[in-house]
């Protein structure tokens, strides 16, 4: 699957790293380094992480991308 994180929005809360540790890894205190192409077997984890992100920074393939304001 394909994901992208808007790292302008990300505030380094690390909820994603807690819920999907194979995909989202904190680098130092708050820099997020994630796997942009995790295997399908991780999709449940990834979706849970995306939903838990307090600033909705994680976009997963197939979800509505641009919230048209």
């Amino acid at each position: 699957m394909r994901i992208v994180v808007d790292l302008n929005r990300c505030e380094g809360y690390a909820q994603c790293a807690f819920l999907a540790p194979d995909v989202f890894v904190m680098h130092g205190q708050e820099a997020l380094m994630y796997d942009p192409g995790p295997g399908e077997e991780r999709s449940e984890q990834v979706l849970r992480a995306a939903a838990a992100c307090p600033v909705q920074a994680i976009t997963v393939e197939g979800e509505v991308l641009s919230d048209v304001r």
């Binding site: 302008n8 942009p36 509505v64």
Partner: protein, 464 residues
């Protein structure tokens, strides 16, 4: 046909061509569909790959954690686009509304979105740039080659230029245990983008992580052996440096050559457009069917004295593409201005760097949170008595607060009670940017146009 009917008709069965199939091109195409455009939509890109994300290329990818071809951007389900990948646009005919392609094809449009971004500035001597071991980093292929070379364990890597990309590359090299020398013409890393005060912190970080950082020095030539492999570099201080790999991080060049002679206001600094993303022609008259977004665009921003900003920022490509798409399918008062406050991030040496506003406009700087020595702080930049920018090291969650200060032109130095200001950091000092008229590859924001502070570039009429 009234303008409203024409617009409705265009939205239903018009023809849109997007040139540039990367972040801005993809997000623009998606926003057109999301906004209800049902006509034909063609996206032309000279790279053979589907749109992919670049920021990981100098981070996860160079650490060997992510494959260079694994950063493909996610897309909306069922995005209805005719992709023309692996073929470059070579010309634009404004009068006949036609884009010509390298394979001889021509595509007609009713509205055009230009999103051709930028490319890495190559090493200035072609023969030296062609040496085996000399790299730039802009595309997924660049990252794949460089990563392979780093994995082979070169004895020393030379990074030419300590802007963001160069600094991130140096960081990745150190994390891989490689010896790395960074050669920077300015007095410190990141100095063009963040100024000397923060630059000094960046310099200390690099050295603390074992980077052999040499500032105030330039690389004058690269030398290869008989087999055409890079062997050493010659520096302006007379020294030489043995290195098997050199990465040239001398900034980016806008991809506007294909627009030469088209009649658009396009040049090395990008394509000029209004705040509604509509391109200007060479006479400074705004077009109504050609739009621009992303790294290739430069547009005026009221918060920053209506100067033209060229932003090499991920977030700008996203926001501007969405505004451009909206305006392409809207008319008159329904159109929106691109008033996004510039923002970007960088991750290097384990630190999360975030910037908001336009630091290079800053005259003075004050530490508003934390302390420079602790590598955890926020500095605020002031311009003519108001807050113009802020930069945070490992303090990401504060950036939004500072964005609001910038948007409301809050007074500088800021005076708020609830932040952990400490002794020593409270007095503004000069932000210490290098003279903007000197050549620099550091800044990711370039200002041009009207400026009350005379921080402007010279007007050079283009030969048509």
């Amino acid at each position: 046909m009234s303008a409203e009917t024409a617009l409705r008709d265009f939205r239903r069965r018009g023809r849109v061509v997007v040139v540039g199939a990367s972040l801005a091109g993809l997000r623009g195409a998606e926003a057109l569909r999301a906004g209800g455009f049902t006509g034909s939509l063609t996206v032309v890109g000279d790279e053979a790959r589907e749109p992919y994300d670049r920021p990981p290329l100098s981070k996860q990818v160079l650490l060997g954690r992510t494959a260079a071809d694994a950063t493909t951007l996610p897309r909306r389900h069922g995005l209805d686009v005719r992709w023309r990948l692996g073929v470059a646009a070579t010309g634009l005919n404004l009068a006949e509304r036609r884009v010509s392609l390298a394979d001889g094809d021509e595509i007609e449009y009713d509205r055009l979105l230009i999103a051709t971004g930028a490319r890495a500035r190559p090493w200035f001597r072609e023969a030296e740039a062609a040496l085996d071991g000399v790299f730039v980093l802009r595309t997924a292929d660049d990252a794949a080659w460089l990563n392979r070379r780093l994995a082979a364990g070169p004895r020393r890597v030379l990074v030419v230029g300590a802007g963001f990309t160069g600094s991130e590359i140096a960081s990745a090299c150190r994390e891989r245990g490689l010896e790395v020398t960074v050669v920077e013409r300015g007095p410190a890393p990141l100095v063009g983008a963040l100024g000397g005060v923060v630059g000094a912190v960046a310099a200390r970080l690099q050295r603390a992580h074992g980077v052999d950082l040499r500032c105030g020095v330039t690389v004058t030539s690269l030398e290869g052996d008989a087999a055409g492999r890079l062997r050493r570099a010659h520096l302006s201080d007379g020294s030489t440096l043995d290195a098997e790999v050199a990465v040239v991080g001398l900034g980016a060049v806008r991809n506007t050559e294909w627009l030469a002679g088209s009649g658009l206001a396009a040049g090395p600094r990008g394509v000029a457009c209004d705040a509604g993303c509509r391109a200007f022609d060479v006479h400074g008259i705004v077009t109504d069917d050609v739009f621009v977004a992303g790294d290739v665009a430069r547009s005026p921003h009221p918060l920053f004295g209506y100067q033209f900003l060229s932003l090499e920022h991920w977030g700008n490509a996203v926001e501007q593409a969405e505004i451009a798409a909206h305006n392409m399918i809207s008319s008159g008062l329904a159109r929106r201005p691109h008033l996004w406050v510039p923002a970007f991030w960088s991750a290097q040496f384990g630190i999360n760097i975030k910037s908001i506003g336009v630091p290079p406009m800053g005259e003075e700087i004050v530490v508003t949170q934390g302390a420079l020595e602790e590598d955890r702080f926020v500095v605020t930049y002031g311009f003519q008595g108001r807050v113009i920018a802020a930069v945070a090291f490992d303090q990401a969650r504060w950036i939004d607060f500072y964005r609001r200060l910038i948007e409301s032109a809050a007074p500088f130095p800021p005076d708020f009670p609830n932040v952990d200001r400490r002794a020593g950091g409270t007095r503004p000092v000069p932000a210490d940017f290098p003279d903007p008229s000197l050549p620099s590859h550091g800044p990711t924001v370039t200002l041009s146009g009207y400026s009350p502070s005379e921080r402007r570039l010279q007007f050079t009429p283009a030969r048509a």
